[in-house]
Symmetry: C3
Subunit: 310 residues, 3 copies
């Protein structure tokens, strides 16, 4: 990590332009209301105008339309939030674990590890697994055999890659297990949150394309495909063989049923259950509106009546 | 695992009959569209007729009603999907971890392990735990003290059996913890998916009867009973003391509230919250239908209005 | 743990009063219908009157209004359920793991451990973590660097404290990671259930105040604050920067969206998604009522129609 930087040095690296004193020195990022001297924050809309006025930050990042909102030294950038992310990366490590394989990790002899991997304590990497360069497994990640993890991937603690998909066939009241002989392929620049699970394919592979971002506690069923640069928030569940496009966003606790298709550039609201394919980009929602319990109970009773009366 | 088998050899082991050349050799299973030579696939309905026509498989498994749909060598079986599962078991191990206890596993001295158990790296098995024959714990499973796991059970990575149930009593604005002194009993032939949690009972045991199949990331509360041969999909939550019958299916992310009863042969749809006992077999659903966001917002506003107007 | 106690000895420690023979000896707690001799149970309402009549318990705990419901030796207490919890604590350990650090745990040299901590096998405690006195980490807990855990805290197996929050900024169709440089602060007397995840803050800390109780498989996003003595049931999801008051209860699988505020003394029903701030104490619900599938389908179709027709 570099030490302190002037605004001029930052724009030399990341683009944008300085308005005010380019020699202003900053050494860390902060929120508007938490900032202290030598820290840089960002401003993204009029909702935060009072906080901007009161901030103790030495500098802020603003969009061109907001350049006049403050007299503080500022960096003007088209996308202040993404610019802020890049500035934060200058001051802070993206991966907070040193490279190397911790001696308590259990790595199968046939596993192939890339350059500069970081594998934390208690991780287990199975037979014939391939892990790319600069990839980080935080403590207690398990990768089952025959899975492939790309470059610059981050797997947080408790992630399980490649456990058996839920493949069972009913036979006379009993369940017969279907061996899950596919694997998992995780592309480059994917990040997977804590305790998320990604099942191996039944026959073919489960696939996460490059740039996919998964939050914590997500379940990805067997033979799912998640298209490049799609982001999924915590507690979502993706059932088997769902085919999700690129550049989608899926809100927290949303559920995508199996064997359906979602095209590129679809946004699913938090808590929504998707029961049919979505073939048109857009935003889709299906959440029961909450209210005080008594009001809800009246509405729910009527809804239930309607189903019965016909 | 056996090597290649002829269709004749397969029906000699598994039943059914061959239509076409019984000397056809296969050595692996495949999907219709992914199959190559020397692979066997299955056909279960007219929806897949085009794939059947185009398949490169050497043989297929079909039901009696579909025997005439193809001229490929085929095995005719009453339940082609279950038959396929059994054929796959001939060619592939059901458990992909060798028997034995990995040296990094921590097994309490008072724990009793059955014959041919397989306990992966990083597992922790507590005091007075009993684990049956041919049972497999994949890496990083935890079994708390005083729990019993049957024969031929599979616990996937990250499973936690026997953590304390959520037993707290309110007392003057504080929560008093109720010690959880029951255990967990898991019957034979149960499979539990990655990162699923099964809490120990408050006083009596939490019970999973034989043949229960749980997918990933399911939460089973204290003193739940899940009847034999019930299957539950990922992310479902079963609250404390729920009593679920045999031969039920519960869809992904469904929620069963506590202290209620569900009889045998009930199917709960994905995403449904069950708030009352179900005393009649059948299929039950309660999901807000999703739509484009603007359409949803209109419907939701009306629903909310109705609750308020009365 | 003490051995057997008389009712008289119990009230001397815990308050309340004895009705009937104060020399009655008990040595364990039980449910009314599971109780045997020398066990003590509790009675909280007329719903359980038949069980009270049939119980084999040697004694029961009852409220003042129920003193006449039984002739068994009994302890009369204002809050029988909380009293039962305290009696159970007399006979059973609240933490079922001995103090000390298991040799297979990986503790960073800069971590500070309090007195009498219990850290189970496979735990990982990162740099600059502080863990308070009498705190228990069951097997396979991970605490990322720079997090603080209070006194008398219980973290169950699979808990992950301090993984990165889901901070990403969109930039030309790609996601830029925002380093998560805040930590997590967990107050005294907090309990966290198995496989629950609590993310570190983006810039400032994520905070669980004293006495918070979290069940299993809960996701707590970055910069959430959960007020003191709030209890949250399993599978709930709390999105980033949600600010939840004190003395709230949140039902299982409920979802709280990000950047909103819930005041003290709010109860959220299981399965409810909270999409706006709640500024008034009370109980709030939003769940689609379940019914037999065909009835549900009719009601849902009408709901969908309404959204479209306007």
């Amino acid at each position: 990590m570099p030490g302190p930087l002037t605004l001029g040095q930052i724009v030399a690296r990341l683009g944008g332009r300085v308005s005010g004193d380019a020699a202003t020195v900053v050494e860390q990022v902060a929120s508007l209301d938490g900032a202290a001297s030598r820290q840089i924050s960002f401003f993204t809309g009029s909702r935060y105008r009072a906080k901007l006025a009161a901030t103790q930050a030495s500098a802020v990042i603003v969009g061109p339309e907001s350049e006049g909102e403050t007299t503080l030294p500022r960096i003007v950038a088209d996308n202040p939030y993404a610019y802020f992310a890049r500035v934060s990366q200058l001051f802070n490590p993206v991966v907070a674990q040193p490279p190397g394989v911790h001696p308590s990790a259990v790595i199968a002899r046939t596993a192939k590890l890339g350059e500069r991997v970081s594998i934390g304590p208690g991780c287990v990497v199975g037979e014939n697994v391939a892990i790319g360069d600069d990839t980080c497994l935080y403590p207690r990640v398990v990768v089952y055999p025959n899975c492939r993890v790309g470059n610059r991937v981050i797997l947080h603690s408790g992630v399980v890659v490649g456990a058996d998909g839920f493949g069972i066939a009913e036979d006379g009241g009993r369940w017969v297990k279907i061996p899950q002989i596919g694997g998992v392929r995780i592309g480059d620049d994917v990040e997977v949150g804590a305790n998320t699970t990604i099942d191996r394919g039944a026959i073919d592979d489960t696939v996460l394309e490059e740039g996919v971002k998964l939050d914590n506690q997500i379940q990805v069923g067997h033979n799912v495909r998640i298209g490049a640069h799609t982001a999924i928030a915590g507690c979502a569940g993706i059932a088997g063989s769902a085919d999700i496009g690129r550049h989608c966003t899926i809100g927290g606790a949303a559920v995508i049923l199996g064997h359906l298709r979602i095209v590129d550039h679809v946004n699913i609201s938090a808590g929504t259950l998707i029961s049919r394919s979505i073939l048109k980009p857009g935003t889709y929602t299906g959440v029961y509106p909450f209210s005080e319990h008594a009001a809800w109970a009246r509405g729910a009773a009527e809804l239930r009546r309607k189903g019965k009366n016909k």
